[in-house]
Amino acid sequence: MLRQICRRGRLMAFMCDSSSTAASTAVSSIANAIQTLIQNVLPPKSMDDSNSILPLEVYDEIRSILNVELPSMQFRHFKDFPHPDSAHVLPRQATSIQHIKIKGRDYSTFKQHQGNSSIGYYSSASGEIEISAGFIDTIWSQTLDGVAQTFLVVFRHQFLSSEDNQRSPYQGRNGFQVEIAYTNSSSVHQVVIRPNQVIGHMAYYERPPGTFGIRRGITILINSLHRNRE
């Protein structure tokens, strides 16, 4: 038993240390050959695909984020003709992706997996850093200046009003690490965030109108899944 488990560990190490083994070189060459074959056989993706065009409001938000993050670049709007020579024009084309891995966890769009799309994130909309929550609607990836940039379009939850919050049994019990939002908010607010703003997933449970004496339907969100990981 001891010999078997030790052999297993060493075998896994052998398989992981790919760069130094002849076998892995063969694996890499076979993988490359398959990749080439796939590229030759499958038609290239059309850039005219509707998924590849950013909605204008998302485009505007991405541009303002990038101009804050990368002030030296100052991306111009694609409509701002004429563009001077060597200007950085933010392309409207982007790749829509369904899944992304952040800190080892899978995040998805709402259509793909509701649980994986429910997130808590840091937001600075009000000027101060605060915790918000929402569902990931779409995920976009763009390669700018050779660097892949990812953006998450999130439908932000509307937390309870202060009046309704008073009715909540979670009020004053921060140790539960629970947030409550209205389930079908009339004013759905869409925001664009970066992967590094994501705190973690939020499990949720929808409750009918009247719960805790609150007239509207509510969603109870658990904000402890991240467990304060670095």
Partner: protein
């Protein structure tokens, strides 16, 4: 062709070692692979050498292909063979012997004035060459130096280890052991390059898995993680040092365990002074040192390994000198902490005592025996012993709260307007219990009873076992008082996954605090809550016997995700004062769970844990006055000081080690646990 050969070898070894495919099945796979590869090569060769009409050249013959047909050859070609050291040991007292001078019976004496063990050391086994006389029991350990050489010869490992030396500890928030006072407790050892620090874990498991009607046996795995590696890489099988597996079928007792751990500690005693090890960056060799810092395990295993008294002894705590009779005390300022030097002194006295009687007196007084780990002079036996978070908190406190305090698993009252202040009623025949299988417990009790009788170091009366085996013999039970003479320090090993101290029969007289409709609300919440894909949903029929045992991870998610979503709604609608108190009690428990299982710890969070935990304990006593406090409840009082010393306890929890135990359990042994290699059979 060599690359192809290595690929096939890797595949065969992976099928056999990682996927558990048998030797025969793997050989069959290899035959198919041979045929497929040969055909593909032949086809490719023919296509490549196809003669054109203009210059017809006959194709040369195909070079012969040599692929492995046996997995043993494949494993041998990959050089993944560990250096396993086998020794002969006495089946009873586990004393080590050399093959060259193996006597007929064991001559070891427990103390200089004790009788010799006298256990037969030889047996006759049938082999293909006829019956042969062979040693009865073998003990296998892995050579640490050769393992370290293997680890450090891997590209990139040294760079990852170097990160621990370069780490700048955070002053206000601890994210890992690297930020903790524990890391500095060995002076500048841990931060000096080429010094390695390991955790020490020991636990027992049933190699036949936990099948109800299956064979029962117990194997002990001793394994170590290199704490200099980043946390997420420490746990990988390729980075884990599997030091040894105790010889089955029975686990060592608290006095024989030193025979098992001595060979391992011998190696670490030498490694403290350093050895020249060849590494990837230093192929000519460089001096490396190794030390053991935290001792980790469940309550029973760690007590046995570290030489502390068991959970129901009057010296039941390894952190303080509180007596069992004071177990309910919450006035932690009055508890006298144990001091490492005092423990070492007492352990040494115990070791040097010449009679069992003297040893017993020392043990009764101090609650300490000798442990092999005491030989590592740099270790503090008190401070460097970790309370296993998984067993103490998750499978101890949380599971106990649901099963015993709330009584989930007991058929709830149908009536909505049930009076929750009603007196407890005895267990009825119709009662169903959450993941309790009386057959398993009875079998285990029987096995342990037999074992305890074969080793005279456990008491010969049933009273001790009764507390753990309430279902089997609860008709005989009358009291739960603790024997103040220290006799009840049996090395009792209940279900290895359960809360070890959860053995009071009074607990099972509880009634369910939830009505049927309230339970159905909980079930609906368990079913309808939307969770991310990586979380395993607990059984949606929580409380029904059919779902079997919950895993520690499921208990944890139950308390941190699912129950906080519905319990406030259930108890808020009631005007019952008891429900309000139950909600507050639950809130304190969830808050403590969120803190103690957090990956970041501050002084303030540890203090907040203490405040909430004391509130929880007080309300627990008021809400459930008839249910006594368990040792786990007391141990959890020490969590704040442990968090402040070690940092996030979740990063030192038993979870990854238990996963390794699971892997070990799945290794196919053809139900033969006492493996004899051909070397031994031939050489005798």
């Amino acid at each position: 062709m060599q690359a192809l050969f290595m690929l096939v070898c890797t595949l065969a070894a992976w099928l056999h070692l990682a996927c558990g495919l048998s030797l025969v099945a793997t050989a069959r796979c290899l035959k198919f692979i041979n045929i497929i590869v040969c055909t593909a090569v032949e086809l490719g060769y023919l296509l490549a050498q196809r003669p054109s009409l203009s210059s017809p050249i006959p194709p040369p013959s195909i070079p012969p292909l040599s692929l492995p047909t046996d997995v043993r050859k494949a494993i041998s070609a990959l050089s993944v063979e560990p250096n396993i050291m086998r020794s002969i040991c006495c089946p009873k007292c586990l004393a080590k012997y050399d093959l060259d001078s193996l006597p007929q019976v064991c001559l070891r004496r427990e103390t200089p004035r004790s009788k010799v063990c006298g256990e037969k050391l030889w047996t006759t086994r049938s082999t293909r060459g006829g019956p042969r006389t062979v040693p009865r029991r073998l003990y296998c350990t892995q050579d640490f130096e050769s393992w370290l050489e293997y680890l450090l010869s891997r590209p990139g490992i040294e760079d990852l280890i170097n990160k621990s030396y370069e780490h700048q500890p955070s002053h206000d928030i601890m994210h890992s052991i690297w930020d903790s006072p524990a890391w500095k407790s060995l002076g500048n050892y841990t931060t000096t390059p080429h010094n390695l620090t390991f955790s020490y874990y020991i636990d027992w498991f049933n190699p036949f898995t936990n099948k109800i009607a299956g064979k029962t046996a117990s194997c002990g795995a001793i394994m170590m993680f290199c704490l200099n590696l980043p946390h997420e890489l420490q746990r990988l099988p390729e980075n884990t040092f599997f030091a040894g597996i105790t010889p089955p079928p029975k686990e060592p007792t608290s006095t024989t365990i030193t025979a098992i751990t001595d060979p391992i500690i011998d190696q670490f005693e030498a490694m403290w002074h350093g050895r020249v090890i060849r590494t990837y960056r230093h192929p000519g060799g460089i001096r490396k040192r190794a030390a053991i810092l935290p001792g980790i395990g469940d309550l029973l295993a760690i007590r046995k390994a570290m030489g502390f008294a068991a959970v129901r002894s009057h010296n039941f705590c390894s952190f303080c000198k509180l007596r069992y009779s004071e177990i309910g005390s919450l006035d932690y300022a009055k508890w006298q902490p144990r001091v490492g030097l005092e423990v070492l002194q007492a352990a040494l006295e115990w070791k040097e005592a010449t009679t069992k009687k003297t040893r017993k007196e020392i043990f009764d007084k101090h609650g300490v025996r000798w442990s092999s780990l005491n030989r590592l002079a740099y270790r503090d036996p008190v401070r460097h012993t970790v309370l296993g978070l998984m067993h103490n908190w998750i499978e101890g406190i949380l599971q106990h709260h649901v099963r015993v305090r709330w009584g989930i698993g007991i058929v709830p009252p149908v009536d909505e307007d049930v009076d929750d202040n009603r007196p407890s009623s005895p267990m009825s025949d119709t009662t169903e219990y959450l993941d309790i299988d009386s057959e398993i417990i009875n079998e285990e009790v029987q096995s342990i009873w037999e074992e305890s009788q074969s080793h005279i170091d456990t008491p010969s009366h049933l009273r001790r076992l009764r507390s753990e085996a309430f279902i089997h013999i609860n008709a005989e039970s009358n009291d739960v008082e603790v024997d103040s003479d220290g006799d009840n320090d049996a090395d009792f090993q209940p279900d290895d996954e359960s809360d070890e101290d959860d053995g009071d029969e009074n607990a099972w007289n509880a009634t369910c605090v939830f009505t049927a409709s309230q339970l159905s609300k909980i079930h609906a919440c368990l079913s309808d809550t939307v969770i991310p894909g990586w979380i395993e949903r607990p059984p949606t029929n929580l409380g029904a016997k059919s779902h079997g045992k919950l895993k520690a991870d499921q208990w944890f998610t139950l308390f941190t995700i699912f129950l906080p979503l519905i319990i406030p709604e259930i108890w808020l609608v009631s005007s019952n004062k008891r429900h309000a108190a139950l909600l507050e009690n639950f809130y304190d428990l969830v808050t403590c769970t969120n803190i103690v299982c957090s990956y970041a710890i501050t002084e303030a969070s540890a203090d907040a844990y203490r405040d909430h935990y004391i509130k929880y304990r007080r309300s627990l006593d008021q809400l459930f006055p008839n249910i006594p406090t368990r040792p786990n409840h007391h141990y959890a009082m020490h969590n704040p000081e442990l968090m402040k010393f070690w940092g996030p306890l979740i990063k030192l929890s038993e979870f990854p080690y238990e996963q390794h135990n699971g892997r070990l359990q799945k290794i196919k042994t053809n139900s033969h646990l006492c493996a004899y290699n051909s070397f031994l059979l031939l050489s005798v």
